[in-house]
């Protein structure tokens, strides 16, 4: 699966994207957010405020309780500030 990071989530993780095989127990966006915190210092810092972090599954906004089964691309980012 492809994971993407934007804005301060990207800055804190130190990477903008990665290809990764997720542990089988991860079923929802929320599970994935919690798992991210366990991936070392940078990821712990990036996902500390996991409540404010938004996610998109295959380029569509997804809630934290959304199932990730079948997803090819999941992105994490702060609330948007364009316009």
């Amino acid at each position: 699966m492809r994971l993407l990071y934007f804005a301060w989530v990207r800055e804190k993780t130190g990477i903008s994207s990665e290809e990764i095989d997720l542990p089988a127990h991860i079923e929802t966006v929320g599970d994935l957010l919690r798992w991210q915190k366990t991936r070392g210092e940078e990821f712990a810092a990036a996902f500390e405020k996991d409540r404010v972090i938004r996610a998109a599954i295959d380029q569509t906004h997804a809630r934290h309780d959304a199932a990730i089964a079948g997803a090819r691309e999941i992105a994490f980012f702060p609330p948007v500030t364009g316009g």
Binding site: F6, Q59, T81, G82, G83
Partner: protein, 160 residues
């Protein structure tokens, strides 16, 4: 029509293209967002716009489609710049064309409210007091929410 670009845009040229020599348009509304030289409490020297290529186009197309479903629009345009911008620079252009002015006004305001909450852009500001990512505003969520409570102007009597 949707465009993400680094370069600037020219209002007159964009509106001429939007009109496309049509003579059944009565009302054109444009919104231009520009970089301000200060945030709530600090001086801004530059602003850098990051976005999520692919999703940005998808979200803007969805928002534009929703506007056309709600109001009788003859044409619409969303241009959003990315990259490094300076105070006074254009950030975004939204334009709507309709036979009637209220449809054009409401659709343009709707597009901006949805763009502000749904389109994956992020602003990074730099200035003499430091640099940082712009925080999302709660008021933008409220601005979007008003379109759920409010009915569109489609049912209102026609008025140019």
């Amino acid at each position: 029509m949707i465009r993400i670009q680094e370069g600037d845009f020219d209002l007159s040229a964009e509106i001429e293209a939007l009109k496309d020599s049509r003579t059944d348009i009565g009302a054109i509304v444009t919104f231009t967002g520009t970089v301000r030289d200060r945030g709530s409490d600090k001086v801004i020297e530059s602003m850098t716009l990051e976005h999520y290529p692919g999703m940005t186009e998808k979200e803007l197309a969805r928002i534009e489609q929703e506007a056309h479903a709600r109001w009788p629009l003859q044409a619409s345009l969303i241009i959003h710049r990315v990259g490094k911008l300076l105070p006074g620079d254009n950030i975004v252009l939204v334009a709507t064309a309709s036979a009637h002015r209220h449809a054009a006004f409401e659709a343009a305001a709707f597009l901006m409210d949805y763009l502000k909450t749904d389109a994956p852009f992020w602003k990074f500001e730099e200035g003499p007091d430091g640099a940082g990512w712009v925080d999302a505003r709660e008021t933008d969520g409220a601005a979007k929410a008003r379109w759920s409570a409010k009915s569109s102007s489609k049912e209102e009597p026609a008025s140019t």
